[in-house]
Symmetry: C2
Subunit: 280 residues, 2 copies
Amino acid sequence: MNQVLIDGQWDDAPLARDRGLFYGDGLFETIAVIEGQMPMLELHLRRLKQGCERLYLPPPDEALLRDELMQVAASGPSPAIVKLIYTRGAASRGYPLPETVKARRLLYRFDWPSHPSDWWRQGIVVRVCELRLAEQPFFAGLKTLNRLEQVMARAEWHDTAIQEGIMLDQQGKVIEGTMSNVFAVKAGELSTPSLEHCGVAGVMREKVIEITTQKGIPCHITRLGLDDLKQADEVFMTNSVIGIWPVRDLAGTSLGPGPFTRELQSVVSQFVSRHEVSHI
Amino acid sequence: MNQVLIDGQWDDAPLARDRGLFYGDGLFETIAVIEGQMPMLELHLRRLKQGCERLYLPPPDEALLRDELMQVAASGPSPAIVKLIYTRGAASRGYPLPETVKARRLLYRFDWPSHPSDWWRQGIVVRVCELRLAEQPFFAGLKTLNRLEQVMARAEWHDTAIQEGIMLDQQGKVIEGTMSNVFAVKAGELSTPSLEHCGVAGVMREKVIEITTQKGIPCHITRLGLDDLKQADEVFMTNSVIGIWPVRDLAGTSLGPGPFTRELQSVVSQFVSRHEVSHI
């Protein structure tokens, strides 16, 4: 019997028996569409490929996936977001991998979120989350569908004056934001937390490291404490949709957008919506 | 636009936009149906309720859920398995909880798995998994939809002579099996790992603790190392479908079903299929 009783109705929806739903057995990517293009696509595809290798997931046919991503990107106006979910597909009960895996691709188009441009210009207010990230080197860096930690960390606050929360690991070291990565600038040098034990390696994080490395500025990938952030000259947070947001208040400590952040913003502005950057 | 491109086909399947799929934002239960009844149902409902509280999920209407579980249990022959998935329902993009959550219930009926009765009688062969469980006290004990660790641990071996794998935490202490809990018997006393930092508190584990406590036998919920298992008089593994499987070989160390395990098996045999126990 393939019927599933969903909210009281018998249903044969194939997705009801997908390992993505059963176990979070898959990966996802959130891709910015700017003027009809996906400027960060290569970084997204690279991370997806790394995730497939780690999870023993058969990788997608890349040409087919690119065609589908373009199809979804072109199905409405820019800027927009294309979300890709890539699962291990049809499930029977139980954890063992199916003998034959037919991975499933789900592609979504979302409207661009309307963030106030102040967040790009003047910076955001950031709190520190109580929920601490578990350390799991096996999945560290990947964007798997197991994201309950981020969900529950983001559920800690309702104050709309706070835009993001810093997440620490079990030792109290800084790892990332709930939906972003974090960088600190001190004496002209850049640092960002190592994601060897936990955390998601965002594509905008990769891009920032790439840009600064090309400029000959070292980016230290290291262990950072909250004090390292509070005593930094500048702190900023990144993701593929927001680009770069300066932090102006970190749990009560005032910071401000500085020249390092401003210069990086001007470089990455090509990868994010003009909606975000129009007022600089 | 509510259409999602699924494997190349536009689709408006509601489950494509469920937070269970997006983030593993939900819980599940795997419930044995024996002679048309669900003898462990109360323990499952209790764990589900605890999970809802922890995840700020609105709990299901219990009378409605019981009706639906009975409906699905009765939709085919016994023994069978009813699986319940309970998610935070419809998702937009992003981690913040929806302002109004309409949790979703998915109920499945599966055939009873045909395990050789030898596993119940003579015991199983168990290896030690390389993947170690992350320590996340916030979710410890719960059966959330974030189960990639179990998936990848179970993917470590293909040898059909091995029935289960022991999972350790990051410190190397024993926590559980990939799909079961573990107990050790030494000098007439019972021990099982504490699940304060990670692991799933199985309902059969609860039942075993309840049974032994009622008999006046203490069950020590404690930290256990692999050596504690190897030097035990008896080791057994439990879940709500298999009941109790003695361990006869733990990573090369021979053990055997002993009187303690046998007595517990005779008590819990009322909760599992006669298929499992018919040859004792």
